[in-house]
Symmetry: C2
Subunit: 409 residues, 2 copies
């Protein structure tokens, strides 16, 4: 007897027919004693359609009212799916985020789950129902509907699974698992049987798009295994969990990630006095501009001046220009150069810790391919190199094939 | 400083542009100190579209899940309208039936309002908001969304106005008020300035379609005036209230109603023993068949047999045939004849009470037109005649022009 949370995204439930297919699959896979919770998103393009409607009445499509509007999409899906389960002869009830006990902050549009009190869900399961829960939404203490932002349904599913101490949370997607790198870039990419929360978070942070980091964090916090698998096949996917259960699944390097949403900002000839870096990065933080890699280098010939080089996402380039222009009025900067044709290649693996040679190998491979490294940054379980965007595919392929495939024989 | 509830139906809010028009009108008409609650239905054909979706996954589109599905329509409208008010610079919040404190029975699809606790609405008004409330829905004690059935948004508006002790509940429709009869049938029909709850209920019961009876009952119960008026003009419409405020607005006869959704059932030669009528009507009631006019006549030549004649709606004819066939096996009925080509013409007026000559006048007018009366029934404030459907327009016109227009000089 297992307690399983299954999450299906918008493209899996885009039409009544597709909803019926999901219902058939869930019923086929269900063991007699299994207790099943299904978390769903809005059907297909519903959310985009609602945003379009809102833009016809307001230039400010956000806040409390916008969250209410968007939350209707999932309510339609849960009602239809519960009706479909009933039509197939299985007891089912639908629940909104509120009814499932999901309490959130009141930061509309990107609310954070504060607490989950899944009593109603558990009671309904006990009574023999399949419970269909609206993803992507919750309720504030004041009783207002909120939405959780991008990837919110994944977060709902994992958090609910955690709060109910489910055996597993299955995330059904259009890919069949987590790969060692993007198979479209490196055809040799292999599907991972297991990966740790930490590695998955680092993969997501460094550019791999399968799972939203917040959902992985929820899994980590509650210790619930997340099974990423395909909507379209029965094959096993990838299990994200605390630690590898099989030594055979663990390698020094788990994956290679690439990120092309990167711009390099070089502040050349900045006055080298205490507090300069703080001043720069505080100004950027004030505008919510995320800074990733940072290098500050002292010129040997002129120690009165320093160069500060860092990376931001390309989406933030215009905003950053404004901030830096203003900053140029209160501090001395010789030149500010922004290069948008950059990319970041990273290797991730909890097993790297004890193997200092890995970094050297990575740099060697890039050098062999004639790729210049502009910035290097490392974390406990990752190494990232900033390179020219034109080299990114070559770099991913070479690093993946020589470091991952060779390592697995 | 007035507290006003305004209700707009689905066709008035069918597009974002129409929603904007309503918002402009509400803001234009608002006095600085007015507190405004707007109750809205789902946009245009949304409800029909949702029903169609449901029918693609189930042959049983009703119950808890169906109510949840349908209730999303109004949630979309309230969110868009609140956003539109905000875009015009006025503070506004939307509320679901639940948030507006509307507690209902759990008879899904046609729930009854049990109680209203409008504290959140009053607080939001106090804080300077226009409050936009979802019509047609409420919440059970167990926390499940319900819908109120046909005309539910009118009921929401009037009940909410009553619970808040509003000064008036304005119902905006595609007609500009309540008429003395259907203007398409009798071009001389006049718009009524006032009408009592009792007369309006009787008009609705007898076939006039402007307001759902449940909404009028709510107005009656709470004593809140209901102003029926046009979405498309600024003209005053008709005020439904407890008593006439101006003698000049009250006549012996307020209106003429016609109803063609009528079938006559004749049970000929029924055994004349005690309990026969009870048996017949109990069997019909068991299948929720509403019986309207009833005549039982004792034959003078054979007092062992009686004829029972009554009317039902045409929608119930097939069901009634089944019931009567079954009944024919346990009791003796010589013949059962159902005539679907019948219609009912009625006159309504609280002022008729003291004027016994009115009935005779009505029968005389029908006789002059060569119309045969098959059944007559009366209530305190109405007289109805069952006639052949082919005569209904002539009858309405003649009665209206001779009894109402002549009476008003």
């Amino acid at each position: 007897m297992a307690l399983i949370v299954k999450k299906f995204g918008g493209s899996s439930v885009a039409t009544p027919e597709k909803i019926f297919n999901i219902v058939n699959r869930v019923l086929r896979d269900k063991q007699p004693d299994d207790r099943i919770v299904v978390v769903v998103s809005a059907m297909g393009d519903t959310t985009d359609d609602l945003v379009r409607l809102a833009k016809e009445v307001t230039s400010m499509p956000y806040g409390r009212e916008m969250d209410r509007l968007l939350s209707t999409g999932e309510q339609v899906t849960i009602a239809l799916m519960a009706l479909a389960f009933q039509a197939k002869g299985h007891a089912a009830v639908s629940m909104t985020g509120e009814q499932a006990g999901i309490a959130t902050s009141d930061t509309f549009g990107k609310a954070r789950i504060l607490d989950i009190e899944p009593k109603r869900v558990l009671d309904a399961l006990e009574a023999g129902n399949i419970v269909v829960v609206a993803g992507f939404q919750g309720m504030t203490e004041a009783g207002d509907i909120t939405t959780l932002g991008r990837g919110g349904s994944d977060t709902t599913a994992v958090a609910l699974a955690g709060a109910m101490k489910a055996d597993v949370c299955e995330i059904f997607t259009d890919v069949d698992g987590v790969y060692s790198t993007d198979p479209r870039v490196a055809p040799g990419a292999v599907k991972l049987k297991e990966i740790t929360y930490g590695e998955m978070l680092e993969m997501a942070r460094l550019g791999a798009g399968v799972m939203q980091p917040r959902a992985v964090e929820m899994g980590h916090r509650y210790g619930v295994p997340i099974h990423v698998r395909s909507t379209f096949s029965d094959e096993e996917g990838t299990i994200i969990r605390e630690e590898y259960t099989m030594k055979a699944n663990q390698y020094a390097i788990t994956g290679v990630a690439d990120d092309t949403n990167v711009a390099k900002v070089s502040l050349v000839g900045v006055e080298n006095v205490p507090g300069v870096a703080h001043q720069v990065f505080q100004a950027l933080a004030n505008k919510s501009i995320d800074v990733d890699m940072i290098v500050q280098s002292i010129r040997t010939t002129d120690d009165k001046r320093t160069d500060i080089v860092f990376t931001i996402t390309r989406d933030d380039v215009n905003l950053a220009k404004q901030v830096l222009e203003e900053l140029g009025q209160s501090m001395s900067i010789e030149e500010c150069v922004i290069n948008e044709n950059m990319a970041k290649v990273s290797i991730i693996g909890a097993g790297m810790l004890g193997q200092p040679g890995v970094a050297a190998k990575m740099f060697g491979i890039l050098s062999d391919e004639g790729v210049n490294i502009e910035i290097i940054s490392t974390s406990e379980i990752s190494i990232s190199c900033l390179i020219g965007e034109e080299h990114i595919k070559t770099a991913v392929r070479a690093i993946h094939d020589k470091l991952i495939l060779d390592g697995r024989g």
